[in-house]
């Protein structure tokens, strides 16, 4: 395409670099100087999605046994040792049967016999599970599991769900056969009108104007005991004009302001502490009251706990490890430690 004229070649190369819109693209906008080509290495680094037909799945393998090791060190703190925990997230396994593995439909979904829908009850494409573990797990430290680790964790979950045997090694070569064992593989339908704006609605009302509903009965209302469930509604409204928020609980406005521990609420939220620790009860880890009782009389308790908050730990309160809190500063860890030792004051 370039002539031997050096100056012309340089000019053309420059133009190509600036616009990288080659000739003959027709309607493509001309925006010289905008954007640059993505390099193959950059595309490999970011294009990690895996589709239901397994396009994008990298080669690799992982055993159930290896998956169990990873699970217990990196996953069980939130999901429970058997993937059954309902404390931090909804359970991963449960609610599926051997019969479902044969039929490809989860019977409990149709019958409504399970109180909750677990991951394995809903999962219809194995690519989804693999892709999500690889891109987003562990939850507080995503994208730290390698390809083989991802195969291993996926295999272990399927073993917990009694889909794969304990000696199985999942790989890119046998993953399609495993897809054919998913209990809910035929449980999804794209046949509905909610995919595109031009889709056909499934529910039809008519705009009647007079004497439309002769028998109006209240079928559901909020029970009295739930009146204060969302705090004091009077504190949640502007309270100007002809309306006022109802007084449904003691005002929280005064308690929420000022004090040494004013920043604690935001901190515990940021570090997701309360998913695993109750203020006054054990969840996955010990309750803050238990921690306070154990350490408050000890020397250097604050520094010790602050270190534990930062670094995580295992073995003192049980075998489920606490992951490190990489986003918490030293000062904030000390504040949290002080707050816990003082009995989590308001």
């Amino acid at each position: 395409m370039c002539r031997s004229d050096v100056a012309a070649a340089v000019a053309l190369a420059l133009a190509c670099t600036l616009s990288h819109a080659g000739p003959g693209t027709g309607k493509a906008p001309t925006w010289p100087g905008i954007g640059r080509p993505a390099t193959p290495a950059e595309i490999r680094a970011w294009d990690i999605d895996v589709r239901p037909d397994f396009k994008g799945l990298p080669r690799g393998q992982g055993s159930v046994a290896r998956g169990q090791d990873i699970w217990e060190s990196k996953c069980a703190s939130c999901h429970g040792v058997f993937g059954e925990s309902n404390e931090v997230f909804t359970p991963i396994v449960g609610g599926t049967t051997r019969k479902d593995v044969q039929t490809g439909r989860v019977e409990a979904l149709a019958k409504g016999t399970e109180a909750q829908r677990t991951t394995m009850m809903k999962l219809s494409t194995l690519s989804t599970l693999w892709d999500y573990i690889h891109r987003a797990m562990p939850w507080n430290n995503p994208r730290t599991l390698g390809v083989d680790d991802t195969y291993a964790v996926t295999a272990y979950i399927l073993n917990l769900a009694e889909i794969l045997p304990g000696d199985f090694v999942l790989s890119d070569r046998n993953i399609r056969e495993v897809q054919a064992l998913l209990p809910n593989r035929d449980g999804k339908s794209p046949r509905h009108g909610l995919w595109l704006p031009t889709g056909k609605p499934d529910v039809r009302n008519v705009a009647c104007m007079r004497n439309c509903a002769p028998d109006v009965k209240i079928a559901s209302s909020l029970p009295d005991h739930a009146r204060g469930s969302h705090g004091n509604l009077a504190d949640q409204d502007r309270n100007r004009g002809g309306l006022r928020g109802q007084v449904t609980a003691a005002s929280a406005t005064a308690a929420a302001r000022g004090g040494e521990f004013a920043a604690v609420k935001e901190l515990t939220g940021k570090a997701a502490c309360l998913g695993c620790h109750g203020v006054d009860r054990k969840i996955v880890g010990p309750g803050f009251n238990q921690v306070s009782e154990k350490y408050r009389a000890k020397d250097n308790a604050e520094a010790y706990l602050a270190g534990k908050i930062k670094a995580g730990g295992q073995g003192i309160w049980g075998q489920v490890p606490m992951p490190p809190s990489v986003t918490i500063s030293d000062a904030d860890a000390a504040l949290l430690a002080r707050w816990i030792l003082k009995g989590t004051p308001e």
Partner: protein, 445 residues
């Protein structure tokens, strides 16, 4: 004798003659106390005693703000709401989620005016927490699922994107799970929690279609786009190419005249008008053109609609026509009988709002509300209807009709098709009961 039941008579707002303690008594539901106060005040007014007395101190005496020097300009470089507005905040619904980094904060619709959501009150939904990204370190990659689907895989900086031709458009964004807690029965008390995963802004950005043209996308084969976020969840959603081709899908950096807020995806998010919020991928880092839907986690595990037979509808995306009365609404108390302006919001993911009807008798009879301009496609529309409350029980409802002729359904009609076990896409008519005492509460009929 004062007539309290005379319809259409405008009464003084109660704060004119009720002190704070008395207003609090009304808020707490002790209306008998108010009745006595009303009669006493009314009697006083009718004899002219109040009008002829000294009058209100705040009028008769100079006030501090009128007799002292106020604060200088730029005392706060970025202005904040009045301290008297602190009640209106984004709030979590207690017990809805267990981890606040994968949770929802609802917009206080009960206190909002017009159709634009103040950026600080825009609802929040994060899947793995939010970050405040440095825009100079942010990149958007555009590629194909293979080299045949897009000729020129490219990387753009925020500088690049802000140099491209831009458009600004007003659109609503609603989470697919908005009103999801109410599929089975009444679960939450106020419109903030029933409908507050809803906001509306003016978004500024580049048409995705232009960028795909620039990169040489193959529209014949590439009928889907994958949008991917740059947060820890790397959230992905499939967007049908029809939506991109319409020119409506934007790569947006602006919101309400400034840059996006960090909680809303700063510095770049996808805007997919009419489609549920999860597809408006935040901290957008990558667009991929493909020839199949991607079966992402938020398309297989969540944002799927459970049907009575146990199947899940997958890729349900459009937010169908819906409306809600925001004032009076659940958790509020009407201070007095007399005139009220019933007002609320209507929207449709399929186009414009054509009409909104309002009922005060639980759906027996309806009157057509006034639509305030502008009425824009896939944007909130504000409606209102004057109402004189006579002190009797009432059930307030609104019912929207969109430009396709679709009429917002009743709860029982939705349930007849989709059952009660779904979480998503509940666009049913909302009912607010007004008790004779003035308390407004969330009910289903």
């Amino acid at each position: 004798m004062v007539s309290l039941s005379h319809p259409g008579r405008l009464r003084r707002a109660p704060e004119n003659f009720l002190d704070d303690a008395q207003v609090r008594a009304v808020q707490s539901g002790r209306r008998d106390f108010l009745r006595q106060a009303l009669v006493a005040a009314g009697a006083a007014a009718s004899t002219g005693a109040l009008a002829q007395a000294t009058g209100e101190k705040l009028i008769l005496e100079p006030q501090p703000h009128a007799t002292t020097l106020g604060q200088p300009v730029a005392a706060t470089g970025y202005g904040m709401p009045s301290k008297y507005e602190r009640n209106l905040m984004r709030r979590e619904s207690p017990g809805l989620t267990r981890v606040s980094a994968a949770s929802v904060a609802f917009s206080p619709l009960q206190g909002m005016f017009g159709i634009i959501t103040a950026s600080g009150l825009h609802f929040e939904r994060h899947h793995q927490g939010w970050h405040d990204l440095d825009p100079s370190q942010h990149r958007l990659m555009v590629n194909g699922s293979d080299e045949t689907l897009l000729k020129r895989p490219s990387v753009f900086t925020i500088d690049d994107l802000m140099r491209m031709p831009a458009v600004s458009r007003m659109h609503f964004i609603e989470c697919g799970a908005n009103t999801g807690m109410e599929w089975g029965n009444v679960a939450v008390p106020t419109v903030q929690y029933t409908h507050g995963m809803l906001s509306c802004s003016e978004f500024t950005g580049v048409r995705l279609r232009d960028v795909l043209d620039f990169c040489g996308a193959d529209y014949r084969k590439g009928r889907y786009v994958l949008a991917e976020g740059g947060d820890g969840s790397g959230l992905t959603r499939t967007i049908p190419m029809e939506l991109v081709e319409s020119g409506e899908v934007l790569l947006a950096y602006g919101m309400n005249g400034e840059m996006l807020r960090p909680e809303n995806g700063y510095p770049l998010r996808l805007v997919v008008p009419g489609v549920q919020g999860v597809s408006w991928v935040k901290w957008l880092r990558r667009i991929e053109v493909g020839d199949q839907p991607y079966g992402a986690r938020e398309e297989v595990m969540h944002y799927i609609d459970m049907m009575p037979d146990g199947t899940h509808r997958q890729y349900t995306s459009i937010q169908e026509c819906k409306s809600v009365i925001t004032s009076p609404s659940g958790g509020q108390t009407l201070l007095d009988r007399g005139f009220y302006n019933i007002t609320g919001l209507a929207w449709s993911g399929r186009g414009k709002i054509r009409r909104v009807d309002v009922s005060v008798d639980g759906g027996r009879n309806w009157r057509t509300a006034t639509l305030q301009t502008p009425v824009l496609s896939k944007c909130l529309t504000r409606f209102s209807l004057p109402w004189v409350w006579n002190g009797e029980a009432a059930i307030l409802q609104s019912r929207a009709v969109d430009s396709t002729g679709y009429v917002q359904p009743q709860m029982r009609q939705l349930r007849a098709v989709r059952g009660t076990r779904s979480i998503y896409h509940n666009n049913a008519i909302q009912s607010w009961k007004v008790a004779p005492g003035g308390e407004v509460s969330n009910v289903q009929i």
